[in-house]
Subunit: 435 residues, 2 copies
Amino acid sequence: MASVDVPVALLGYGTVGAAVNRLLTDSADDIERATGHRIRLVKALVRDPRKERDYPPPGGVLTTDFSEIANDPSIQVVAEVMGGVDPAGGYVLDLLRGGKHVVTANKQLVARRGAELFEAASEGGVQLRFEASVCAAIPVIKVLRESLVVSNVHRVLGIVNGTTNFVLTEMEAGKTYDEALAEAQRRGFAEADPSDDVNGADAAAKMAILATVAFNSRVGLEDVDYSGITAIDPLDIAAADQLDMVIRLVGAARLVDGQFDVRVQAALVDKQHPLAKVNGAFNAVMLQGDAIREITLEGPGAGGIETASAVIADMASVIGTMGTGFLQNDAAWRELPRLPSGDSTSPFYFRLSVEDRPGALARVADELAQREISIARLLQHQNGSGAALHVVTHEARVGALDDALVALGALPEVHAASRPMPVVSDRGVAELGWA
Amino acid sequence: MASVDVPVALLGYGTVGAAVNRLLTDSADDIERATGHRIRLVKALVRDPRKERDYPPPGGVLTTDFSEIANDPSIQVVAEVMGGVDPAGGYVLDLLRGGKHVVTANKQLVARRGAELFEAASEGGVQLRFEASVCAAIPVIKVLRESLVVSNVHRVLGIVNGTTNFVLTEMEAGKTYDEALAEAQRRGFAEADPSDDVNGADAAAKMAILATVAFNSRVGLEDVDYSGITAIDPLDIAAADQLDMVIRLVGAARLVDGQFDVRVQAALVDKQHPLAKVNGAFNAVMLQGDAIREITLEGPGAGGIETASAVIADMASVIGTMGTGFLQNDAAWRELPRLPSGDSTSPFYFRLSVEDRPGALARVADELAQREISIARLLQHQNGSGAALHVVTHEARVGALDDALVALGALPEVHAASRPMPVVSDRGVAELGWA
């Protein structure tokens, strides 16, 4: 096949941008053989062209003028790797409306303004691809949009933040939260300011995007209930271990009777569950659907070169398919309602400090039973003058559980109740035969 | 976007064919929303149209006449789900040469005649897709061809046969090989005649296809060294357990100095390694490359509906991209040489029955050292009147190890030597930081 020269532009030229240029240059022959196209970087929008950079592009590529990209008809594909919601969002919208295909690595942008961007792409007859915005090089977006088109994915479970997974793994080995976080920073797995990682916001943005693509519905960051790991202490880790579980920051997106439910929170995960085995700072996403049962993708969820690899794969896919209408339907073509938060169900773990006297357990069990919460596992041990009660429930409504914990807290026998955590213990898999 | 009606045909209408028709019918709206196309089954080639079938197609669809498909210009996409190398191969070649896109679920066909088929597709300007031929719905072919275009994948490790993985898992729990296989058959994880599964041929075909796509080189079934699990006995399982390992049938494809090395054999896998944790009859494929470090895909590797899901995803991708040249370059555009079998390297495990007398171990160590094989771990225990010696080597050449075992077998101190098995214990991952 004859090779076609394809000029592309970047918005931003930081770590990811420089890695994109380096990979495009080093792998130009591979890309050409695989796609029949030679991708050439012709413009990159930056604030300060004179700043010293890794792998600087050839002269004339860096520009401070967005219109040099927006108004150049020879540029049909632009990759946004600048990050942030503003001004990146405005630029991307302009480009899509102007008929250019856009690839973005920006999870905050897609999670906050995805609906608007998808609509602009669909109306403009161009593609918006965003593989790099979720878990870097793990190709979960392509798999959801292109491979699982008839699988009716109804549940996505993920460990989508490497920083917190590393911190929790280190805490299991005996470190305190502060020690584990410092180790993550030392090894480059956490930023100097790790707030968005440890408070769950980063994972929430990724889960919003995954839910949007899995359920074909607009799910924004504001639709995700999230919390982080800052309140997890060694007592939680030890309690989980006693139950043969570990604590992980788990993202869960479910489709329940036509309503979506997306949340990110610290959860107890059975040690035999695949998500418990995700290594250190790696990420994993488990997709459950009717026709596929369960497919899990695991790999490094961050990194400059990994992100650049995903950006270039998206560019190659866009270039290979532009003009066909492929993937130009709105990724979020329906608006499903959100499941009321209290109606979300899960097995839960919590612990109580109770007085060690006859009848205390009966009162606790009674309060739970009144709200149709049944106990799956119970561990009791002496704790000073009282007793610590570790409770794992069967599937329960969040609303019922919250009510029960308020009622339990008011009992004279109960001194303190921990925050509840969901429990991930089912494999979610029916072992079907296939002969 | 306006919807376009796309007539398609099937070669074969067995379990997979019926599942394709059922999914196409049940998910017609989903497919249309996702792709803008309405896929409609118009012909299916069968031997006996009067045979009773699950989910029979509408009247007039079944035909015994291949030319009704080959000569119908309205049919641009055909899925081959009949299996077998003949006559399927001839049909597929005819269709590709006649300008029709082909999707196939046939691993034996792609592994044995892939080179010829790729060339015909490339020359005919049509696509040949074969996701369903490897691990059913696990989208490893699409990921390799479209997502990892710049990642320079140099190693593929996989558990690509669910039957053997289930059997080995059951043997760990105490069953004999025969009991485990019977249990697999009872649960539908093994065919009545499981020969191709347990002797490694099924896994070898999948690894040939994966190596072809990962390395862009023609790797046929005849290029794969393979053996199965029929010789594994409880003693092997117990020995592995003592070393904190399990035995798994592992496929390994590597690119070494521009030469490929593809093999399938029973291996000792460290219990901490992701491949040791693959559940029962599930499959997993681990891809290692420069830009991605390591991405693992796991899921059900067989099943009628899972295979049909992959066939339809391929159809949707073909239909969405036809006419663009996308993925029409020959998937195997180069012919790399095969690494001479003796030059393949790995850490290995073997065990010896030795006389329990001074100097025996020294003689063994000396024979290994003469061939530059160094010992990584050694376990010795009493075994009747003699001693059993469990040896794990560092990375060693297969040729050197084979020589060493012949020499060891000739020592008067050595009564018997086991077949060596490779050891999979490294994660293959450098933990890179990313801050």
